[in-house]
Symmetry: D2
Subunit: 92 residues, 4 copies
């Protein structure tokens, strides 16, 4: 899925940070931290997932929709329809 | 902006419906309707704006990013970068 | 719904600004402005509706959920359940 | 933070499911799964975090804002202000 080695490393670093945030959230719930603290941790994890999402969507647009290396109109159209499905799911 | 007459008519119908919703909301505030009722009207207007947004974004993708009629790679790239800016503003 | 005259004036000013934004959006579509410009106007209107929403929700919390003037536990509970319904509709 | 043992167990089950989703996402990136598949996994994790958020907010409202066991108006007001901060962060 990542379209270059550099991009792959970047996305993996992001997802591992999110895993760390979710593990910290688990510990916070186990040790019965304050409501507000837990909510701030949830908000941080959610923000990190949104940022990961945006990065992967950008990557998808540059490679599968607008990419100069796309061979056929049919492939480009498929990339566009996949993108539209994702945007619909997120914005509606 | 609308890329066909049919599409233009559809978007205008949507935006006029939203105007009607906002006018109804104004009347609800003026006549001091219940909180909950006002919140439901706001939610409805917000949902309608989100749907309009999704429709215009789809239109943008099909015409300015994946469109078979785009002349140059530079134009396609510009359409893609505009799209990415919009998605960033919405999802982050 | 607005719980003081000052609050009512503030909310009405907000909703009239939103109406102005939606009317501008309608003109932009009619005069076939650029896609990107239209999307920025939609984003602005959406942001304004979100802000109005937050303000009304705050008002609801202060008056109908945490308000010192609430007479009975049943009323407070009702205010809380209404609030939860709204938050569910918005965050899910 | 969880206000009953049952509620705590429920929240922990949710957060562990999210951890599983994030770990699956990590494996998907490592094994270079398709863009679209990765995006669907991100969307699922995001949905699960939103649901967790809603549940904790509900819990906060019932216990710290509308709770019949709150001792003083000052405590109730503090719970309300914390809630408003969270809603602002999420809806704006």
């Amino acid at each position: 899925m990542a379209h270059t080695i550099k991009e792959k490393a970047k996305l993996l670093a992001r997802v591992r940070r999110i895993r760390g945030q979710v593990e910290a959230l688990e510990r916070a719930l186990e040790s019965e931290k304050e409501c507000v603290e837990v909510l701030q941790q949830i908000a941080a994890a959610r923000g990190a997932i949104n940022s990961l999402m945006v990065e992967v969507v950008e990557d998808h647009i540059r490679t599968h929709v607008a990419g100069p290396a796309i061979d056929t109109e049919a492939q480009r159209r498929q990339g566009a329809e996949e993108l539209i499905d994702i945007i619909r799911a997120y914005l509606k």
